[in-house]
């Protein structure tokens, strides 16, 4: 059976159907259970970071190498012809893509991955384009939720912290809206979920509610997705006053559901106290590791038409 993602681009989470998402998650699960060290043998993948991102780059390049492929590329835009000689991104992509079988990129400008996909016929994977999309982060988040809860439907999921500027929570909420979850948005008023996301959720008849502290809802949750409230967005007094409502410590987890998992896209600063790390609910480091499997799944599906995930 042909897989529907073969030779496709992964630019925006909104481009993926529920069936596509399920196929990626099943494939990630299969690759985690049964490594395929030769699947991408003789394949060359370009890993082009026009903007530095250590975690995403290492995770992606590990994914390529664990599947037996080779990586070419660069880890920041400063050393490229694009930066030094004023080459357009379109020209850079045409040249680099002619050397490789797939093109993974991060770029500081919104729309860069979509544009790149129009200048090459090999699959382009968006590793983050400015403040717009970061679909592989969303896929690893979905995979982690699926792995820990054995389903994606009908979960109670809270998002905490900077919900206004965080593209991670926007994309994840949009993707999970295909699965009829209940959302709890916990943030300072100044960093609330944008109206356009709330409107989209309403259009899809998704239940959501807004809250001002974690303890309001924590006992009813399956997933607690933490993000960092950036200190620089507030004056010092305001920050000290409100930050306690959006910090998690182990005492707050005394009466939670057994299946609760705490996730975070990392890096964390102080929004998750280190005493949470020792609880059975902490799953953010496994989540980061799952980035490798989610990215392996994409590579397997985009570059091989015959790969079958184990059920």
């Amino acid at each position: 059976m042909n897989n529907p993602l073969y030779q496709k681009n992964i630019i925006s989470i909104a481009d993926l159907s529920r069936t596509d998402l399920e196929l990626i998650l099943q494939t990630a699960h299969s690759l985690k259970q049964t490594p395929q060290p030769e699947l991408l043998k003789n394949k060359v993948v370009a890993s082009c970071f026009f903007e530095a991102s250590t975690r995403t780059r290492l995770s992606f390049e590990t994914a390529v190498q664990r599947l037996g492929g080779s990586v070419i590329g660069f880890d920041s835009g400063g050393n490229t012809s694009l930066a030094q000689k004023g080459e357009t991104l379109a020209d850079s992509v045409k040249v680099i893509a002619s050397y490789a079988d797939a093109f993974f990129m991060r770029h500081p400008q919104e729309g860069a991955a979509r544009l790149a996909s129009e200048f090459t016929s090999i699959p382009v994977i968006n590793g983050g384009d400015g403040s717009n999309q970061h679909p592989t982060q969303t896929l690893l988040d979905l995979f982690t939720i699926y792995e820990t809860q054995a389903r994606l439907d009908n979960l109670n999921i809270a998002f905490v912290g900077d919900l206004k500027y965080g593209r991670t929570v926007h994309s994840l909420a949009q993707a999970l809206s295909l699965f009829n979850c209940n959302f709890y948005f916990i943030s300072p008023e100044a960093l609330a979920m944008p109206d356009y996301i709330l409107e989209e959720l309403k259009e899809r008849n998704i239940n959501f509610s807004l809250h001002s502290s974690i303890e309001d809802v924590v006992d009813d949750l399956d997933i607690l997705y933490m993000t960092r409230v950036q200190k620089e967005r507030f004056d010092e007094t305001e920050y000290q006053h409100m930050k306690s409502a959006f910090l998690l410590n182990a005492d707050m987890l005394d009466n939670v559901r057994d299946n609760l998992k705490v996730l975070h896209p990392l890096p964390r600063i102080d929004e998750i106290n280190i005493d949470v790390d020792e609880t059975p609910y902490a799953y953010y480091f496994q989540q980061a590791q799952n980035g490798v499997f989610a990215r392996q799944a994409l590579l397997a599906l985009l570059l091989t038409n015959h790969f079958q995930a184990n059920a």
């Binding site: 357009t88 991104l89 400008q109 919104e110 729309g111 979509r114 544009l115 384009d129 717009n132 356009y196």
Partner: protein
Amino acid sequence: MQKKLQVEAIEQGSVIDHIPAQQGVKILKFFKFTQTKEKITIGLNLATHNGESKDLIKIENTFFNDQQANQLALFAPNATINQIKDFKVVNKFQVQLPSSFIGVLACPNSNCISHNEPVQTRFYVHQKNTLKLKCHYCEKSFERGTFDELD
């Protein structure tokens, strides 16, 4: 009461009517009618039946194709175009809002990749009542009023 023609009739060409006041000059500029040698008659702030004002453009020997007509929706979503031959209206149609606009607007997001690269901008109609357009590249949506037209 003596009835007067507000704008002189034309023999052959197009009449764009029901343009909101203040938009007529923008339309002239957008379609580069300011550079044509054809005879153009424009009416600005003309009275309408309901007491509001409108602009109107008559241009000789010029006809709009569907794509051009639909681009008018950016300025005048309720405009009508009358095709004139021998001083008679031979065809009259209303502007239709297209599903996308290609190569006519600049993205209001200054960090959008479309500003620096050899591509045409493309915007999808995201919301019709208060016109909102979504950028094909940066995926951000903006109200019509925030856009500048490309030269």
